[in-house]
């Protein structure tokens, strides 16, 4: 009996030893992600969780380093013509696809044409409209060959733009600008994204994809910087339940979580300390006001509503510090924008603000006998509900009566997009690239998809157009600041909160830097034993 036990114990010890040896040989990073990707086809993607995975699989012309700064990727350097319209990229010679093929300029030409071909059904193709003829190609009015991209030779890529675009490099860091391997797409069609078919040019290749379970990436040996990639396997785990990720993080089963349950923030901060990473993020949470509705057309009414909101209370008490109060529309710290506009009542005492708001309402013809009644629409969520309730309470103090309507997300956004009749509607925006244009363009009068407010101010539009044609970045920033001033005066959208990125990062995971865009390529990270 004892002999048997000893043998058993020895066997177990040996197995454990072997297992640990195997573990030492291969470093696996268990990475929590917001949700499963809707697709791994870079031309059809739209979500942040997809961007995280695609960034590991593919390398674009330029990439983002651990601090989210733009650094050379497949392109080693680039020149811009004097009119800012012609960009010439020189590609590195040692760039390889995971099947050994060289990464050529022609691959980028193929890829950009593919995303803009209407038949691809790309959800985010519009982001590439600065490229010459992109809009016409995407509408099917021009052949894809007419797109402003060319490959004079395999190592040189030329991109012609419609207009000068100061943020073009930032734009190229978006996952829609990642290349596909043309031969695989031709051979497999839409199935080129399957693990057995996918050919990538980034630090990792796709090994496994089980929906709702995990996506396994393994290190690519053909990647030009493979020597500096420390993690051998990345396992992406989708977490729709943020608490589930927290539990698995606490149990040591995952090394990072891409979100934190705000309702447990106090506990999490207390228990996990430095692992909790809260950083400013490129996003705004706002209330859109139907600006062309007679009831709300008076600017003074919108200003009064904005002024009466105690954003500090909402940020601290309702969002547990996971959001920051917003008195401007463009998030602070954004690229090409040293100093934005901001509401002048930002530092005013809340009680004085309330008084001034009452005066404004009175001037606009509302008082105790004729109270303003507004309706807030929001997509169903506990935090949105709490936010709306708190704001209604603040508005009550200035004599405004508020009613609520909440519906599920899909219905809510369909209603906004279809120009449904509303007073005030909750919405949010996460920037695609770090430039103020990406926020201010939302309420340009010709932006049919995003301008929920039906805001139309020729002065505002003119400033944005002028900024687009200005090459000097300081002058451009100043023009955009003027536009934001107008925005904060007219308030087509009432900015409420700036988003923060919330991550849990294990102390074993090294090289993680908090940054405004919340991008953290696995190739820059390492895992301490």
């Amino acid at each position: 009996m004892t002999g048997k036990l000893i043998r058993l114990a020895a066997g177990a010890a040996l197995a454990a030893l072997l297992a640990s040896a195997a573990a030492a040989a291969e470093v696996t990073y268990m990475r929590g992600n917001d949700s499963d990707p809707e697709t791994l086809d870079q031309h059809k993607t739209s979500t942040v969780s997809e961007a995280n995975i695609l960034r590991d699989l593919y390398e674009g012309l330029v990439v983002q380093d651990p601090a989210a700064e733009v650094v050379p990727g497949v392109a080693t350097d680039w020149q811009v013509s004097d009119d800012g319209r012609l960009w010439t990229f020189s590609l590195r010679e040692d760039a390889r696809w995971s099947n050994g093929d060289a990464v050529k300029a022609e691959d980028f030409v193929y890829s950009l044409r593919r995303i803009l071909t209407p038949e691809t059904g790309a959800k985010y193709a519009t982001i590439l409209y600065p490229i010459k003829n992109a809009e016409a190609v995407h509408a099917g009015d021009m052949a894809p060959e007419e797109l402003g991209v060319a490959a004079p030779d395999s190592q040189t890529l030329q991109i012609t733009l419609e207009n000068r675009t100061s943020y073009f490099l930032e734009l190229l860091t978006h996952q829609t600008a990642l290349p596909v391997h043309p031969a695989s797409v031709e051979a497999h069609g839409t199935d080129f994204v399957r693990p057995e078919n996918m050919v990538t040019n980034g630090a990792y290749t796709l090994a496994e994809f089980t929906p709702n379970d995990k996506i396994v990436l393994s290190k690519s040996d053909t990647f030009h910087d493979a020597d500096n990639v420390a993690i051998d396997r990345v396992v992406y785990i989708p977490f729709e339940d943020r608490s589930a990720c927290l539990r698995r993080f606490e149990a040591g089963e995952v090394h990072s979580c891409s979100d934190i349950p705000t309702e447990q923030m106090a506990y999490v901060k207390d228990k996990l300390g430095d692992a909790v990473r809260i950083a400013p993020y490129l996003g705004i949470y706002y209330y859109a006001v139907k600006a062309d509705k007679p009831k709300l057309a008076d600017i003074r009414i919108r200003q009064a509503l904005s002024m009466a909101i105690d954003r500090e209370f909402v940020a601290e008490e309702i969002w547990a510090g996971a959001m920051l109060p917003a008195y401007a529309f463009v998030p602070p710290g954004i690229g090409n924008y040293p100093q934005g506009a901001s509401a002048d009542y930002k530092d005013m005492d809340p009680l004085d603000r309330e008084d001034r708001a009452k005066e404004l309402l009175e001037a606009a013809g509302h008082g105790p006998d004729n109270p303003l009644v507004v309706e807030i629409r929001y997509n169903t969520s506990e935090n949105h509900q709490n936010t709306a309730t708190a704001i209604a309470d603040m508005w009550k103090a200035i004599g405004v009566t508020t009613t609520f309507v909440n519906v599920d997300g899909a219905s809510h956004y369909a209603y906004l997009r279809d120009k449904g009749d509303f007073d005030i509607a909750r919405a949010g925006w996460i920037g695609d690239y770090s430039d103020p244009q990406n926020f201010l363009f939302l309420v340009k009068s010709d932006n049919s998809g995003f301008n929920y407010a039906n805001y139309a101010n020729p002065e505002y539009d003119a400033l944005l157009d002028e900024a687009a044609e200005t090459s000097d970045l300081d002058a451009r920033a100043e023009i955009l600041r003027q536009a934001e001033e107008i925005f904060m005066r007219d308030l087509p959208y009432i900015p409420l909160l700036f988003y923060s990125s919330l991550n849990l990062v294990s102390d074993r995971l090294q090289g993680w830097q908090d940054n405004l865009q919340n991008v953290h390529g696995s190739r820059w990270l390492s895992l301490a034993p």
Binding site: S46, H138, F209, E240, D241, E253, D408, A410, Y413, G449
Partner: protein, 308 residues
């Protein structure tokens, strides 16, 4: 028997057809579509997508297109998970859900029956009250409480079992989810067995068996249980459907790649084909299970067989 089963299966065809038709049109009544996201799409992109997925055609044509594809066994592509067809998603998720559901059902039957028998045999004793108490607890405490608590205790605090994840179906990863799923079913089965058993123990054939001097063990296990299990058998149909579809909470909290979550997710995402796919699959399961239950019933209860 075979003819009866076939007849039952055939009679399910019109039912399924009705379910598919009603669900198809009900789904379309809901506002929004699969491509209405938080960040709206440009009109042109929407147009292209609608054309790709035939959403630009009149509804009746979409309906016939769906029906004809369905008849060929094609459930269509998922609108939201664009790299997968609905069939792919089910091929990956259904085996997981079935494993989980079947394990939970087996566990519930085993433990529920055992507890129910004990309670019935010792009616109005401490053991009986304990079982009834546990059963009430099991039914009233919802899985979204049980699941995180189990995960916190056994996964985080004690570290005995994984706090979540499927682990490619490893036994350790299944224990907590199966337990969570089984708990309310154990409670229901125990209560059903207890009630039926008390009645069965008083019935003539059990009294006769006792009069023959058979040991209690045999009387209970063979004669009383056979009658007492009948209500549980009729409950199996709804239970199986509930386990298959009701696993969404368990799947989300433990990170299990089953199909339960598609029921809610697909509807919220307006993933039309996936919604229809889940409706078809679940209807099929309910029809099949009811058939199995009827056959089982006939096998267990000679009276039913005689009447048939």
């Amino acid at each position: 028997m075979l003819a009866y089963a076939l007849k039952r299966l055939l009679s399910a065809v019109p039912t399924l057809f009705l379910i598919v038709t009603i669900s198809f049109f009900l789904m379309r009544v809901a506002p929004g579509g699969p491509f209405h996201l938080e960040r709206p799409l440009e009109a042109k992109v929407m147009e292209n997508l609608n054309r790709l997925y035939h959403l630009d055609e009149p509804l009746w044509r979409q309906y016939f297109l769906y029906l004809s594809n369905l008849l060929r066994g094609d459930l269509g592509p998922s609108f939201v998970y664009r790299d997968f067809t609905v069939a792919d998603l089910f091929a990956a998720g259904l085996p997981v859900s079935i494993q989980l559901g079947a394990s939970a059902l087996a566990l519930a039957l085993l433990i529920g029956t055992f507890l129910g028998c004990i309670a019935a045999l010792r009616q109005n004793s401490a053991a009986d009250y304990l079982v009834v108490g546990i059963a009430t607890f099991g039914i009233t405490v919802p899985p979204f409480v049980v699941a995180p608590v189990l995960s916190l205790i056994f996964g985080v605090s004690l570290g005995w079992l994984p706090a979540g994840g499927w682990g490619d179906g490893a036994l350790a990863n299944k224990i907590l989810p199966v337990l969570t799923l089984a708990l309310p079913q154990i409670a229901i089965v125990a209560r059903l067995i207890r009630g039926a058993m008390i009645e069965a123990l008083r019935s003539d054939h059990v009294r006769t068996a006792r009069a023959y001097g058979l040991p209690t063990r045999i009387v209970v296990a063979v004669h009383a249980l056979r009658a007492a299990i009948l209500p549980v058998v009729s409950y199996l149909g709804p239970a199986a459907a509930a386990l298959l579809t009701g696993s969404i909470v368990v799947e989300t909290i433990f990170g299990i790649p089953g199909i339960g979550r598609y029921f809610v997710q697909a509807a919220l995402n307006r993933d039309y084909t996936l919604v229809m796919g889940t409706v078809v699959v679940v209807s099929l399961f309910v029809v099949l299970f009811n058939l199995v239950v009827d056959l089982l019933y006939a096998w267990l209860d000679p009276r039913v067989r005689f009447n048939a």
